[in-house]
Symmetry: C2
Subunit: 439 residues, 2 copies
């Protein structure tokens, strides 16, 4: 089955809004085994729209529209597509009542134009919108189908999940199961390693790369749900075998969610001491609903005085080793754990630029600490692209990765260890500093 | 002049990546006075691509391509478009040398396929890529043009700004000037007020809405740059007259940038005490390069104990008024300013959900404080959509808005004031609590 995605709206052609619908629907259609041949964004002009629909209808089996269902005179999509599919529209009093109720609830009055939104297909059928006023529509002619959904992303997604996706699944008389693996690691290297596993037809596997991690989505089609699940699980094992514990979780929104859950299930708490990330780690942890069970204190120690005052970094250590150094990262993490009374603490001190930096410590140099019990693990990160946002994001991601490993009772990879009792010992600090600077 | 934007790449059709290029180019083309009729995303199939290009060429004056310039056998865009524009390609030894140098630098060897990337138009011309290996291309036939740029967003944007945009400007023999106003306020209300100003042909004005603020981009075309600037400035005045100091700045990346600059130019410092935003305000402030001149200390006081320990909130006040209350927000801001020795401090305490909340304090209830000198200004915010990310983002935005007003020496809108000496006075705290709870 082949499809095209058509987004209707002048505001998209002007670049006023970013088209996230097309990506969402492309993923969803791919998971259904439907090949997306083209994504198009077009305006509301009647003639151009009709020409487009007539051509596209010949090219593929399914046209998926978003947008153009509004009440203004410009919104011609439903009428135009109906005509192209040999259908007409009729007034639906139930839909009209929903619209009237909505306007009444929000203290406004309907206009004659709003009646347009209550028009539904005669030969095809409406698609109920549980999250907005405009119903969707389904048209069909000679084996070619068109479905029209709203342009507002949350309305579109809800209609897709509640009505359109089940409809397409039923047509294909199959069950579908998906699983998303979250994997730590950089893009190109990871993509290269898993490439052979991405070529499969069923289950399919697709990779989506983000900062410092990737998402691998596995989708299986089968006769029934149990079989699809089993296939998914078996295919996931291939990735686990290949990637080991770089696969950090399944079906979570991000690393912070896994960190919070792992801490919680181990009865642990965490604190943060952030310099160049400036609150980003705390912010990510508190994105997770329920974070308050494991996180109570975060220190943003942007100034040297703040590092001393809030998390007990020794000013002499800053003076001797530089504020961007392994000894400072170590003392920050140990100090944050102590000040917060937390089981684990992570710390970051680095140069996010664009200013600052020299030959020894170029912009992009970051030191991270992760303390648990009487040990602190310290790591150096270097981000070669001098991009402030990227450096900060990579640093926050690395800190969360270290936190995860400590919460799992593992040693964070690529770190040097210092014991708490040696945190003021000049020889130990100098050794730590030199080892990590040389990396 | 009319244009179409064509993004080439299977990874887009699979939904593996979000197409941000199309939005960027749509905005840029609109600013040049070029009407974008269609955005399309297509795969690398030779026949389908050729059919598409031949049709699109008839529909408009300019085809703007991104992607498909890679070295693999799939990347057919350049050859295909050349043929559709009656052109051929020739080997360019300078471009080849650049590619060889790049591979040598990164410790890899070129493959025969890489030679494809060094092929450039014979009748048209290459477009130099200063930020990657693949040169762009320009083709022209019978008054129709096509330009090919890389798909990687930062390479594409650089090539657009350095080469393609100037080329299009020169062809239109005009100068262009743009100005972006940043405006505080919610979407629908603001859009309604400025709508009549968005219909103009020259200068054009477009609105882009974000969380808690909008961006209005004004672009003027004129004979020369001075004239274009003058026109922009005159048109901007209409928005200032309409919106007053809701227009908080011009040509900045966000409210945090204006806050940092305003603090710096007034020689002021700021501290933060965050509960439900969990570090988001600090993170936004430290996004701004140079933030260290004004920001040194941030407190993420997620637990009640942390509010007491780090910023001196009285536990009895929490017990009496609830942790999500105006008295707590007031004490957090005053305490943060004191603990950090900062001139200004902002605080947030609220319910971001999804859990918690009751009839008195539903999810979405947030109290904010902003302290300067011996006064603290307190405000209640209510976000009706129970969306954790949205509630946090709106709260952070409101806190930054309050910080800006204090830095400007103004009173933040919609606030109640409490003096520092009254921060432990039961009558004053109760009055504050009751006044704001009733809002």
């Amino acid at each position: 089955m082949t499809a095209e995605i058509i987004s209707v709206g002048t505001e998209l052609l002007l670049g006023n809004i970013l088209n996230t619908n097309a990506q969402y629907l492309s993923r969803e259609l791919a998971a259904l085994g439907i090949t997306v041949r083209r994504q198009s964004t077009i305006g509301d002009n009647h003639d151009r729209l009709a020409d487009f629909v007539n051509e596209a209808k010949q090219r593929c089996d399914l046209l998926v529209f978003t947008g153009g269902l509004g009440p203004t005179a410009d919104d011609l999509t439903k009428e135009t597509v109906a005509a192209c599919f040999g259908d007409t529209l009729t007034f639906d009093s139930d839909e009209w009542q929903k619209i009237v109720d909505f306007f009444t609830r929000t203290g406004r009055e309907t206009t004659p134009n709003n009646r347009k939104q209550a028009m539904v297909p005669v030969r095809g059928h409406k698609v109920v919108n549980h999250h907005g006023t405009a119903p969707g529509a389904w048209f069909e002619q000679d084996g070619h189908c068109a479905v029209l959904m709203p342009g507002v992303p949350h309305e579109m997604k809800a209609m897709w999940e509640e009505s359109v996706r089940p409809l397409l699944l039923a047509r294909q008389s199959c069950a579908l199961h998906s699983l998303t693996l979250r994997v730590l690691g950089g893009e190109s290297n990871l993509e290269y390693r898993v490439r052979p596993l991405l070529e499969n037809l069923n289950p399919t596997a697709a990779i989506y790369c983000k900062t410092g991690e990737c998402e691998i989505r596995i989708t299986a089609r089968a006769q029934n749900d149990t079989e699809a699940q089993t296939m998914c699980r078996a295919y996931a094992k291939k990735f686990y075998d290949l990637l080991g514990d770089a696969v950090y979780d399944e079906d979570v929104a991000g690393l912070e969610e896994t960190v919070v859950h792992t801490l919680r299930s181990n009865g642990l708490t965490i604190a943060t001491a952030e310099s160049c990330t400036g609150g980003m780690i705390a912010q990510r942890l508190t994105n997770v609903s329920g974070a308050s069970e494991v996180f109570g204190y975060g220190f943003v120690t942007y100034w040297e005085q703040a590092k001393a005052k809030l998390v007990g970094v020794d000013p002499a250590v800053i003076a001797q080793y530089n504020v961007v150094s392994a000894p400072v990262a170590a003392q920050m993490a140990l100090g944050a754990a102590k000040a917060a009374g937390a089981d684990i603490a992570v710390s970051v001190t680095g140069l996010a630029g664009p200013g600052g930096g020299d030959a020894v410590r170029p912009v992009g140099t970051v030191y991270l600490g992760a303390a648990r019990g009487d040990k602190v693990y310290v790591k150096k990160l270097f981000v070669s692209r001098p991009d402030r946002a990227l450096i900060r994001a990579r640093a926050a991601q690395t800190a969360l990765e270290m936190a995860l490993r400590l919460a799992q009772g593992k040693t964070p990879a690529g770190t040097q260890v210092l014991t708490e009792s040696a945190q003021h010992d000049p020889a130990a600090l100098t050794a730590l500093d030199e080892t990590l600077r040389a990396e």
